[in-house]
Point group: C2
Chain length 228, copies 2
């Protein structure tokens, strides 16, 4: 099955890309530029795709972001990215309204125009509490909408029931170069170690018992918050 | 219900906008620039929105079109726009893969970021034969995906079971300025009168018994093809 993967440059989609590549399905990778402040992840996505030897395209969705209210998400505007654990209430400001449907719809348009058969997305269980568009119910509905709108295309989300630690363990088995991936919402020179995605990343390596190659500006914070 | 309408600049969405405005729900209109060759419709959309006194935004989706294979649709590339009736097999080349899901997803992101409650789309029954993403099954699935991904937002498609003639009749009752709208896929100075959407437009006015104010370069062709 000719599969294209939504590759954010983060850890989860890098592992999914590696798995699809290992299974012989991966033909290309798509990243979305939606005006995210952590644009550094786009360079990480390019590096991950290059490490797998698959073509990589960036879909420019900045026109959508430009029409959105920039104050609707801390990932779009200038509001501070909150520190702490994903499960905290303050993480709600990192939701980008409708992001996964937009990325899936854009990927579906591009993939189907190019004759691909499957779009894969690495949404996973750990994202559930704050992000409605990472839940299985949403993914099932989006899969149905894509299949009915572009009948030659399927959407798959094999990590829907994985924890992030499960994904790290899978990546370790596949030899994923974790050091190429980027998670931090701050988008600075190194991972901040304090935002929700940095804390989740560090915790996942600790839980999986896999060495974390990430350089965090604050390497103690995640342990303090999560107790891992 | 604070409603934003997907306003293409064509006849159907102009009538839907007028109906929502008449019912007191319409707060804004959104158009999508997806690199369509008939970009003239965007100016028509602006004129229709201005006639209703609602704000109008164009969402720039040209970055998605840029990543697509331009030969996947006659509306994107340089391939000839086919002449004839929508029901003809040759109209398949006017399908833009995944267009309605992309436009709905983009509108959902923008509308929910701005606190709107409903996105309305004027997809209708007459579009069914060639466009999978105008069918009710697709619209139901897209509605579910939007509601699960952005829980504050609903999608409505009140014309799903209308014929285009029904829409013209509704527009006539509401006093829609049909002359402001643009359908033709060729995007020339006047409507060509020969492409699928021109033929459908002329036929709809004839069936509805409403005077057609459209200036067609070829005003006889639609009658020859449809017998109306």
């Amino acid at each position: 099955m000719r599969t294209t993967v939504l590759l954010s440059g983060g850890l989860d989609s890098a592992v999914l890309a590696a798995r699809l590549h290992h299974d012989g399905h991966l033909v290309s990778a798509l990243s979305c530029d939606y005006g995210q402040r952590h644009r550094r992840e786009l360079a990480a996505a390019a590096a991950v795709a290059a490490s797998l030897g698959v073509s990589h395209r960036v879909i420019n969705l900045s026109g959508v972001a430009a029409a959105m209210d920039p104050d609707s998400s801390a990932l779009l505007g200038s509001a501070a990215v909150p520190h702490g654990h994903y499960a905290d209430d303050n993480m709600a400001v990192t939701v980008v309204p409708g992001r996964n449907l937009l990325m899936l719809a854009a990927a579906a348009a591009v993939a189907s125009s190019r004759g691909d058969e499957v779009v894969a997305i690495a949404a996973h269980a750990g994202d559930h509490p704050v992000y409605p568009d990472c839940r299985t119910e949403f993914l099932d509905a989006a899969q149905a909408a894509v299949a009915l709108g572009t009948p030659t295309l399927d959407v798959v989300y094999p990590f829907a029931h994985f924890s992030k630690a499960d994904i790290v363990a899978e990546g370790a088995r596949l030899g994923v170069p974790f050091g190429l991936t980027w998670s931090c919402y701050e988008g600075g020179a190194v991972h901040c170690g304090r935002c929700g995605t940095c804390v989740e990343r560090a915790e996942a390596f600790a839980v999986a018992g896999v060495e974390d190659p990430t350089l965090y500006a604050d390497s103690a914070y995640a342990r303090e918050v999560t107790g891992r």
